[in-house]
Amino acid sequence: MNVAIKMTGRLYDEIRQDLERPHPFAFERVGFVFGKIGTASDAGWLVLLTRYHAIPDDHYIDDPTVGARIGPDAMTWAMQAVYHGRPAREGIFHIHMHACPGETGMSRTDAREMPPMIPGFQSVGRDAAHGIIIMSLDHGSGWVRLPGSKDLQSCSSMSVIGTPVGVFDRTGERS
């Protein structure tokens, strides 16, 4: 079963512009992006990203042991957004960027810290997909937990429907 992510060029630019901004103390920025699901062929799924939320500077916690750490205010906001998104079946994705070219994956810290967030989102927004997206300088990777699933599934591709079009296929070959 394939899962693919799509977003508009405008949203991609908005996300990149925010994630590339320096933060007063965190080494990197993180954000939340929202998405709705669509059925694809062969029992596959699409995640169509709708809007981006830039996490305010003061919602970060100063923790030099990690690239960025967000505090309880950011998580509370996220949970409320998932709750309000329930009628529209809109889910939430934690997103950040690795400043390198090519296909990227979760670092050890990412793999330890981010997946545990997802069940909480799913418990509030059961009919939506939630997950994790990591961008690189010229690529993007995603992991999605579909409604009713307990697994985080790796996305087969990410498309930017902009001018120009970007297609980021997942090959498993990490940069």
Partner: protein, 267 residues
Amino acid sequence: MTAGRFSRQSFLGKDSQLQIARCTIGIPGLGGGGSHTVQQFAHIGFKRYVLYDGDVTEDSNLNRLIGAESRDARAQTPKLHLAKMMILGLQPDAIIRGYACKWQDNPEPLRECQIVVGAIDEYRGRRELEIACRRYLMHYIDIGMDVHGEERPVIGGQVILTSPGAPCMTCMGFLTEEKLGAEAARYGNAGARPQVVWPNGVLASTAVGFAVELVTGWMRTARPYAYMVYNGNDATLMPSKTLKGLERHVCRHFSVEDLGDPVVMAL
């Protein structure tokens, strides 16, 4: 991928062939317009296709169906088969998902495309396809031609590019309630529409040019929408006057609420 074959289109950018090869093109309709685009996409190097057409080749198609020969009309070769052979003859490693039906009968594969090129006969069909492209985030390029007037026939047509977030075909003044209403009133009495190969060629080539620009960005300008009006009698293709003032226009016909599978809100 041999370097030589595409050396004449290297101006499209150093990674252009990779970008082209990764893009999935959807073509719902492989008739006079669609068959032209298939041929050109294959030449350029596109390798991923989602195709729809349930029709077979008939004698009356041979004046314009690219890839068809006289024997195909005798054999009633499916148009889908002709398209596949054209593609595979140039791109033997192409991934082609072909469906001998209308796209509405099996819509899910189309949603996985990045660009859809439609050569649809009817305004309502265009509206439906544009809605699907907005819902599932795809650029939509529409082509169409018509011949009107009996005393002095006039060949007209259009190429329209509409993208998620940009002005839609209604914003651009192409789809109107008047046209849709007149079409509904004529339902069942439309008859065979005049169709000839050379306007199809002009329109299809322009559409393919838009698609290549979208994929490679070779012109280094962002063009998320376009509406070119074709006059076959004057041999001109000009931007529509209805585009005036749309530079800052925000489309109110589609929003992020419309993305993804429709959600019926209980009342």
